[in-house]
């Protein structure tokens, strides 16, 4: 062998030289370390065409970074997405990244790749993140995913301005115009005014369509009422704060009174019932993202033309807007984590977030507060400006919220998903229990949930 001048040492040296030369000569790509393939599962959007933005962005990212992108869209009907997430977490295999429902980053925190580096760069560029998204996506001080634009929603009031003017004497378009200012009477948009309007519309046969069941729409708006009255069922450490809690009693009393002016079957409504109530023309107001209006635009244009989105009413302790963010997580057992992070960073860039908002007809809300000024919310219609007030604006003087915060997320998640806030109201209003008895049940349920940590 040595006679031919080829030794093992020489082979190794030359081989290393070739590898080094290849590395130096390789073309520079946008995100170092990316290449290969990426498989992401995203929530299948309600709004027709809502998935197109992510498809377009994935294609662009793939071309720029020589990554073979595969996107799957999984819907939440029948909890298909939740089941997929649970199955992948249990089997430690599946997609590289997946859309996580609001409480999932906490549930699967141990199996999610921290994304602090991505969030640090994005925050430096776009400023503070929505506090609710931060509350849900951070565990143990680390971001367990990147708060998403696609699918993230708020739940302000989508109201029929014609019916409210006719039956309750309230001109909501004047109160909340499609401009960065509050109109005359906006300061009187409180839960008390809301109750009076609910009564008037109920009498007129177009009751407010407010679900009181166990689905998220119900839990979200009831949660915003609780916060508006300063009613908390636990403190930050998860200790129940139910006894002698006057704010809680006030909020419950209000909701029991309000429930008398709602359709008698709201206790069984799901997340689509309120949409149907609005689209059918039977309801004057619902709390929902603009998906109900978007469907009405297609199926009942005469209804859509009279819809106007306005902030939630204010309570004695302020105005709160229910907010439900999706978070895209990267599995720690994923094969291409660097590329996955680069992709999430790419789709969260301002221009790409705006594309998501445009394609979803204004439904999606980006996680950065600085991104609440996109044109789509001004120009979408009919009527033009109908969803101007959909994302929270400074003049709303409101706070994004999620029910049961600031309880520890593990506990808040259980209280939220078991709809303790709507159930306690239902026990009194529908079940005929006394307030004391219902509150006693609430405290026992919370204590029970806290056990077996």
């Amino acid at each position: 062998m040595s006679k031919h001048g080829i030794t093992r040492r020489k082979v190794l040296r030359n081989g290393a030289g070739v590898v080094a030369a290849t590395a130096v000569g390789a073309p520079m790509v946008h995100a170092q370390g990316t290449s290969g393939s990426l498989r992401f599962a995203f929530w299948d959007h309600w709004v027709p065409g809502g998935n197109d933005a992510l498809k377009e962005l994935a294609q662009r990212f793939g071309e720029q970074n020589r990554v073979n992108m595969t996107l799957d869209f999984i819907n939440t009907t029948g909890n298909q997405l939740q089941l997929t997430i649970a199955a992948q977490a249990q089997s430690r295999s599946g997609h590289d990244g997946i859309s996580l429902l609001p409480w999932d980053p906490g549930t699967y925190a141990d199996q999610l790749e921290p994304c602090d580096d991505v969030m640090q760069r994005l925050s430096a560029k776009y400023g503070p993140v929505n506090p609710v998204a931060e509350f849900l996506a951070k565990r143990g001080g680390a971001w367990r995913g990147v708060p998403a634009t696609a699918g993230t929603q708020a739940k302000p009031a989508c109201a029929r301005f014609d019916l409210l003017k006719q039956h309750a004497g309230i001109d909501i378009r004047e109160m909340w115009p499609a401009a960065n200012r509050a109109g005359p009477g906006a300061d009187r948009w409180t839960w008390d005014t809301f109750l009076t309007a609910a009564e008037a519309c109920h009498k007129a046969g177009v009751p407010f369509g407010l679900p009181m069941g166990q689905f998220t729409d119900a839990v979200d708006w009831v949660g915003a009422v609780f916060l508006g009255y300063g009613a908390r069922v636990t403190d930050e450490r998860g200790n129940p704060t139910i006894r002698n809690n006057q704010e809680l009693r006030q909020a419950i009393d209000y909701l029991v009174r309000l429930s008398r002016f709602l359709p008698n079957d709201v206790w069984a409504w799901d997340d689509a019932s309120n949409n149907r109530a609005l689209i059918s023309g039977r309801s004057a107001l619902i709390f929902n993202p603009p998906s109900a209006w978007a469907v009405a635009k297609r199926d009942a244009p005469q209804v859509a033309e009279n819809c106007w989105t306005i902030p939630m009413p204010a309570g004695p302790k302020g105005r709160f807007l229910a907010y439900l963010p999706y978070v895209t997580g990267i599995w720690s057992f994923g094969r291409n984590k660097t590329a996955a992070k680069a992709f999430l960073e790419f789709i969260t860039q301002r221009e790409n977030a705006e594309l998501c908002v445009n394609k979803s007809q204004g439904y999606d809300i980006p996680p950065f507060l600085s991104m609440s000024d996109f044109k789509a919310w001004e120009t979408e219609g009919p009527p033009v400006g109908t969803i101007f007030n959909y994302p929270l604006k400074a003049h709303h003087q409101a706070t994004y919220s999620i029910a049961f915060s600031p309880a520890p997320p593990e506990l808040a998640q259980q209280m939220y998903l078991q709809a303790l806030n709507t159930k306690v109201v239902a026990r009194i209003a529908q079940g005929g229990e006394s307030v004391d008895s219902a509150l006693g049940w609430l405290e026992r349920e919370i204590n029970n949930m806290r056990r077996g940590g």
Partner: protein, 310 residues
Amino acid sequence: MADGGAATLPRIEAPGGASLKRFARRRSTIAFLMTLPLIAVIGGLVVWPAGYAIHLATLNRRMTSFIGLGNFEILLESETFRMVIFQSVFFAITAVILKAAIGFWLAHMLHHIPANGQRKWRGMLLVPWVIPPALSTLGWWWMFEPTYSSINWILNIFAIPSVPWLGEPWWARISVIIVNVWYGAPFFMIMYLAALKSVPEQLYEAAAIDGATSWQRLRYVTLPMMRNIISITVLFSLIVTFANYDIVRVLTNGGPRDLTHVFASYAFQVGILAGNIPRGAAVSLFMFPILAIIAFFVLRGVNRRNKEEA
């Protein structure tokens, strides 16, 4: 050498080959090999998941430490879960009794229809059982649906006020049972019809000669002859009804106020949706001892009767 080698080789291999042949020829070995695929399926799809569920039920919420029977203890102290036990038992027992009664009645009706016409009736009555339950329940949901209920629409035509089928607790419970009975009664019907056809005609003739009334014929001839099939169908249906998930999930999602939850739907809510997989596993395992006890007594009864008849 070659000859010698050829002569010794069979002598060396013979004992091993023969024992292998003997081993393969043993009936128990063949039986074991033939059932191996089934054993693998049962092991993989029944024993392992059941064992894993038991293991999960003994962990804490984060699945990081063993807490023994802690989840069961917590559940039994929860008012909501005690309500779920009541509802599951109420739902299963009521639905099975109704399914058995309706199935029995339908089987009798069909049995007395001439053979030519029987086939089409049998086919039509089996339709509910053939449609996937999730799909048919969706159809029922549209009929009960709070805002556009078609049943209410018909009631209103006759000036009867709308019924909050899914919004009022007892109506919601009844709705869930109605759908389960509608779906499950044809199973009983077809089983009882087969059993009725196997009752010897001579027994009825003898009873008629003795002057037995139709009630007495039913009481002393039909029912004793069908006892085993009734026991087995009731047991089978009880197991399936106790484990029902799709009807509650589609119709009410457990509401209002958790008053229609059964074990399976509550286990899903606690385990998957609320992210407490160990407690969800504990909920689902609650069915196991109840059903095991019922199965033990029913099957013991069937065996005893078989021995007596033999």
